[in-house]
Symmetry: C2
DNA sequence: TGCATTATCTGCACACATGCAGATATTAGG
DNA sequence: CCTAATATCTGCATGTGTGCAGATAATGCA
């Protein structure tokens, strides 16, 4: 590996670390646990999920998911609605107004990054936003990859314990 | 707010969200809680901290910090060393080898983002890395700002409870 | 209609992170 | 030296997130 390549790795690692810590702090400021923040993100991205779908996505049991929804609902971030087509199902939807709370948690980062972005030309800014829009799906895919691997590892460990 | 501005807000929000979720998944894969990941990041960034400094940084009590260090030590991420100048102090240092574990958790993101970056010209890549190196400190500052505000809010709430 | 299946919820137990108060060890100041 | 201050650790209690097993409600099929 060239030294330039190493530098890039270090810069990237440092950057990811900083963004990640910022996001965690934001979640904490919004009063959300990691699992809750993850669930809320999925719910709002999908425009609503059933309890079961959420359980599958988070890797939690259905029981734990019920409690997770309880907490999000009590905090005002989501609401329950019964699926009219199948009344056993519970549709969990994000409450639009409450997302402002999450938005507020990101505000400091937005302001500070805004200052950084202001130092670039409009053309350069456009490039950076192009990157943001392409990188987001890539990060989401990486997240699923990591979670899948983690779950697999946990399952293997459990199997060995028998 | 113009629609273009709104678009930018949405893109940025989405991007932060995706990076944050990825980081959390990485932390989970490494077997670390959010607070532990945050602590480890501070320790390795500072090249070693005392227990007290870590307590101040995380906002935890000294007792809780002792347990936090216990967990990180047991997991092999850090080691304790007594400060030769003041033997009351405990220096907490990151174990270099173990950081590979954390590095591995970031690997999927690095690979996928590498693919995205590969679609840009070398000049554009240079710009993006320039941004990374400038944005990281900005995100760290935002993190401290959020944490300070969160702690203040918690203190106020506690005061009202009396 | 009756029974199996599915979706969600509830009761119980457990693990674990954290705060608080007091204990221990070390240093600093008189 | 003796005492106060400082840094960390330990015992205890508490809140909370989660799994598991069984309960409840709704659907689908024979």
């Amino acid at each position: 590996m060239s030294t330039a390549e190493q530098d890039q790795r270090a810069i990237f690692r440092d950057y990811i670390d900083a963004v990640g810590l910022q996001a965690m702090a934001g979640a904490e400021a919004a009063g959300l646990q990691a699992s809750e923040w993850y669930a809320l993100s999925r719910i709002s991205a999908a425009g609503g999920l059933t309890s079961g779908e959420l359980a599958a996505g988070t890797g939690l049991t259905t029981g734990a998911t019920t409690r997770l929804i309880d907490r999000l609902e009590r905090a005002g971030y989501v609401r329950r609605a019964t699926d009219p087509a199948d009344r056993r199902k519970v549709l969990v939807e994000a409450v639009p107004d409450a997302l402002g709370e999450v938005e507020a948690a990101v505000a400091p980062a937005r302001r500070r990054i805004g200052e950084v972005l202001g130092e670039y030309t409009p053309e350069q800014q456009a490039l950076l936003f192009d990157y943001f829009s392409r990188a987001a799906p890539a990060f989401r895919a990486a997240t699923e990859e990591i979670r899948a691997a983690t779950r697999k590892k946990a399952a293997t460990r459990k199997k060995k314990e028998r």
